[in-house]
Structures are given as structure tokens and as C-alpha cells.
Subunit: 236 residues, 2 copies
DNA sequence: GTCTATATCTGGATAGAC
DNA sequence: GTCTATCCAGATATAGAC
């Protein structure tokens, strides 16, 4: 947590949160411990990585429902019986993905270092942080957005609550700016929802950004800039 | 076409384009003629309405892949054998939905009355028209967005091309405004994509707008307003 | 034009050997 | 801890009566 959000760039973010590689699979193992028959982390981590990565590959191209566990077995090189030592059921696998992502977002969102910043810097930290996270955990976000209908009612509602909470976090920052006399107090709820939506575009419309050759830094700067403009921020 | 876009409101739009009721199912019948065994429109229209409406109900809540044709048979009251007189296969049904929506959008988008307007009015006509259309054909849009992965490669690409074409249409309007000295020439491609995305929110995030009690007129005005602000339009 | 009955197959899940 | 073999529910699709 040391270098974030002092240096707002994706390297600093990567080093602070470590949402990739072994720490990520250890997080998955931890969250999912009781659903698995395998108790030894040394053995489990590698297979969990295979299972989740291949699920993203298959589900994010043809859809989770359309992906069979036989497809997954072939892609991972793990037998059908083997798979069931790691998951309770197919639905359980989707549920695990949603749960891990939600808990990870929750961790990053409750970062105290960001909360203590002044409105404009806080806004920047939220926007850049969220885009960096979307980039790093792209397949997770993409999966959860497009497969939400297949989840249980509780999970769907948790996912919606999460998005509302994110909107609220942005809205609170807007309001702090209004109180400081920096922003205009005009349709802040809709503006907050719009900022959230701009951020989601980064994982939903990859093809469009690739097509237009927009880099992640360009896009983060764009979202930050447009948000300030919408708030009628007068820079010094 | 007479009263649009002179009076920009949803009633005028509804009367001009008639994208509901019998004319809509006649359009479906027409597009889908050769895939059906039924040749008599009098008989077909009612059943097509049942089949498509129930497909939306089931697929837009549990997902198209998760919906079985038995579910659809039960929901429509048409037997399994009966269904197959109207569709070639399950995938065929999804393809039909995409095709009908795309052709309908294409019709509305090529409206000459809008193209001849001045930049600001044109922008308003495009934004309001698109939101009205999203509202009227909501289940169609929602289905196509979330079930795109299940479509054939050709159809997926056609859908992406359609979105790029829409972006282009907005971008052209922006550029016309820049040439007329009304708008600033700053990251217009990203701004156009953002306007498209704000419009898509109307059918993607219904729950959020319902929660915040935002009416369609409020939201259309918001999108128009924010787009002009982003373009740094100086109103007279 | 619509139904019932049925053929055929796929996919999730498990038992039990190793 | 992993694999093979198998069970069986449920899905698409069609044949043929009415």
C-alpha cells in the first residue's frame, strides 16, 4: 500500500495490490476452500489456475452455459472426475468467480489511503485505480457482467449492490467537491452512474479501443477529464 | 415520417415508425418467411408474437442457452412440434431476433429527415430517437447485447459494425458542429463512443434508473446536455 | 397447421479402481 | 489425488396422426 496513490500508474498499482499470479490463486483457494476436496494448496494452486483461466477462455468466447465441462476437461487437461475434486458443480464454478471478484473489489475499495485524499485527487485515484483493476482482472469482470443472469438471486443482488456502492463512492467524492466549492451541484447521481459506465467500457468494449488504438493511460485520462468537465470544475 | 423530428417526443416517434404491434410482427414474418413452414400470415402473426415475446421473457431473465424449447413450449402454449413450424432451430431463433433488430435500426438510421438538420438539432434527433427506440424495443436490444456471444461470427461482426456505424453517425454530427464553429475539436472519437454508451445504459441498466426514478425524458435530456457540454458548446 | 410420441444425443454428476 | 467408466436427466429435433 506504500506507493499508492502517491504515484498513479499501473505499475505502482500492480505492486501495491498484487492481483495476479500466485497470490491471486491463493486468494481463490482461500475463498473456495470448503467446496474443494483437495486440501493441499501446493497441489491445488496450479490446477485452480488452469481451471479458472480455461473457464474464462471458453466462457468469454462462447458463453458459460454453452461451455460444457467436457470442453473444460479437454482444455485444462484435467479429467471430468478430476474437475469435480475442485468444484462442487458447474454453477458453483460461476459462483466462485463472482465471489472472488466481489471480495477483491471490496478489499481495494476500502483502501483508507484513497479515502483521505482531497476531492479531485480522490476522484483521480478512484478512476485510475478502477481502470487498472479492470485491466488486470479483465476476464473476471467480463465474465461477471455477461454471465450475471446465470447466478443465484443472492449473487445477482450482491453484484448490483456492489455497483451501487461504487456509484455512491463516486457520488460522495462529487459531494465533497461541491462542499469545497470546486464542483457544480447538478444531477450528481446521473453523473456518477455515467462515470461508472465509462469505466466499465474499458472491459466491455475492448475491440473498440483496440480498433481506435486507445491506450489505458489515454482512456484513464479521458474519463478523469470528462468527469471533471461534467462537474464544471474550474482548474487553478 | 411527417411529424418526426419536428416534434421530438416519444409519441411522435411511435407514430412515425410504428415498431410495435402488428406492423412489427409483419416485419418479423417478412424477414423470416423462408425459415418457416407456415405460409399464411393471418395464422403466423399471432404465434410469432407469442414465440418472440416469450423468448424475451425467458431468455432475458435466465439466459437464452439456459432456456429450453420445452420452457418456451410451456410458456407460449404451443407444442414442441408446433414451434418447429415457425423456427428452423433454436439457434435460428436467436439469429432471427438479431436480424430483425439490425434491419429495423438500419431503417430508422437512414432517415433523411434527420440527416438534413443542423448539427445541434441533428444531435438531439439522434439521441432522442435512439433512446425512444431503445425504450420501445427494449427486450430486443437487451437480448442482442447479452446474447451476442451465442450468435454466428457473421452476425457478431454485423452487430459490431452496426455499433461502429452508429458511432460514426454521431462523430459526423460532431464534426459538422466543429466546422460550423459550434464545438471544440477534442477527442471526438472517444466522445462519440461515450454518447453511444450513455444511450445503451437506458436498456442495460433499467434497474438503476427505476431505483433513481429517472424518467425517459429526464434521461434523454441528460444525455443531450452532457454531450453538448463535453463538446464545449456555447449556447446562444 | 398443430399435436403426440419418440428417436437420438449431450452433458452434468458420481462410483470406484489405481 | 486423479482417472476411467457409467448413469441418467433433460435437451433438440423429427415422424406421422389428426
Amino acid at each position: 500500500m506504500s506507493s499508492w496513490p502517491e504515484n498513479i500508474n499501473i505499475q505502482a498499482f500492480r505492486e501495491t495490490w498484487v492481483l495476479e499470479g500466485e497470490p491471486l490463486w491463493a486468494r481463490v483457494f482461500d475463498t473456495h476452500r470448503e467446496k474443494m476436496q483437495i486440501k493441499n494448496p501446493q497441489i491445488a494452486l496450479g490446477n485452480l489456475e488452469k481451471i479458472f483461466t480455461c473457464t474464462f477462455k471458453l466462457a468469454n468466447s462462447k458463453g458459460f452455459q454453452a461451455m460444457s465441462l467436457r470442453d473444460l476437461s479437454r482444455e485444462t487437461g484435467i479429467s471430468m472426475g478430476g474437475l469435480y475434486a475442485y468444484i462442487g458443480s458447474k454453477d458453483d464454478l460461476a459462483a466462485a468467480i463472482e465471489e472472488v471478484l466481489r471480495k477483491t473489489i471490496d478489499d481495494v475499495m476500502s483502501d483508507q489511503a484513497v479515502i483521505s485524499l482531497s476531492p479531485v485527487h480522490r476522484l483521480k485515484a478512484i478512476i485510475y485505480g478502477d481502470i487498472f483493476m479492470n485491466e488486470i482482472m479483465h476476464p473476471w469482470y467480463y465474465f461477471c457482467y455477461l454471465e450475471a443472469k446465470g447466478l443465484s438471486r443472492e449473487q445477482r443482488e450482491a453484484a448490483m449492490a456492489m455497483e451501487l456502492k461504487f456509484d455512491e463512492r463516486i457520488l460522495d467524492t462529487f459531494k465533497a467537491g461541491v462542499e469545497a466549492g470546486l464542483f457544480e451541484d447538478d444531477r450528481l447521481e446521473l453523473l456518477a452512474a455515467n462515470t461508472t459506465s465509462m469505466l466499465q467500457q474499458w472491459y466491455l468494449k475492448r475491440w473498440k479501443f483496440a480498433h481506435a488504438q486507445t491506450s489505458i493511460e489515454d482512456y484513464a485520462a479521458f474519463v478523469f477529464d470528462i468527469t471533471l468537465r461534467n462537474l464544471q470544475y474550474k482548474s487553478a
